[in-house]
Amino acid sequence: MITVGIDAGAKNIKITFLKDGEVIATGISPSGFDQNAASEALMNETLAKVGLTHSDVDVICSTGAGRKVVPGAKHVLTEVSAMARGSLFLRPDVRTVIDVGAEEGRAIRCNEAGKVEDFAVNEKCAAGSGAFTEAMARALEVSLEELGKLSLTSSASVPMNAQCAVFAESEVISLLHASTPKQDIAKAIHDAIASRIMSMCRRVGINPAIMLVGGVARNVGFVQSLRTAMEEEVFVPDNPEFVGSLGAALIAADREVETATA
């Protein structure tokens, strides 16, 4: 059985093809202005990559901010259940899932059976999301990748008082004018995001093991700041941005099996 999970995120669309529980292909493309068209194009591109056609796919499941516009989706799920399912598949002892995407952050607490017990989503404030790191990287005139690496070279603790992405940018400019080293500012930026995410995690409660997923998990500076803030090991899977689409594909497969055996 081939199931497809499509995570139509605010910035990128991610797709995962699953065949009998094994990932056979993944793909990613910008969401752009038309998530419907972008999802369809990514689906066709990934089908061609693995030599399949639409008729080979048993079921499509969508998730993410644009989940309702994904063409051909039989199941439509929130990111909460998709992220939880994907994370537990990758590491069954995970009890807390932290998802930091381009536009929102999310904390999910699961029990031993994998059931979601508590979740919180912050979809309003950019200060705890990938958009914040992008804006700060621009202010520091470094790439996103450099921002993460720079942060790791600092051991200083520079407080950033601003709780808002817009005001934080002014604070970064002020720190630059005060000749604060770039690496210290980079660490301050990641510490600030980690603090915002920590605050949301406290709302749902933190149980180890903790897994960080979503595109921002690729930022090594943020991962280090979050580990320090949590005082716990935070696991990052190999492809953190695909966990949502993987979870959606897994749930699609679960539901097909349930239907077949009912």
Partner: protein, 93 residues
Amino acid sequence: MKANYGYMDGSGDYFITIDTDKCVECETRACVAACPANLFVIEEDDWDDLVALIAQDKRKSVKYDCAPCKPVTDRPPLPCMAECPFDAIEHSW
């Protein structure tokens, strides 16, 4: 499951928490009619349970939408919480 709908920003945390394990037992759905700002809707969640949740277009404005029910002095019980027969609703602020 405790579902937290809302947001946090520089001024604080603004979440409405709905305990869906309690909510699913409810037959009256009194919260929907009780809320003067029409924040609550009844929808099926990812686990096929029909539960109350905060409408998608209201999640980023709960601080302001709930403000009329939260006067600074002489605060009465919140209508949504008062009407919920299972005490499934909480506000974080």
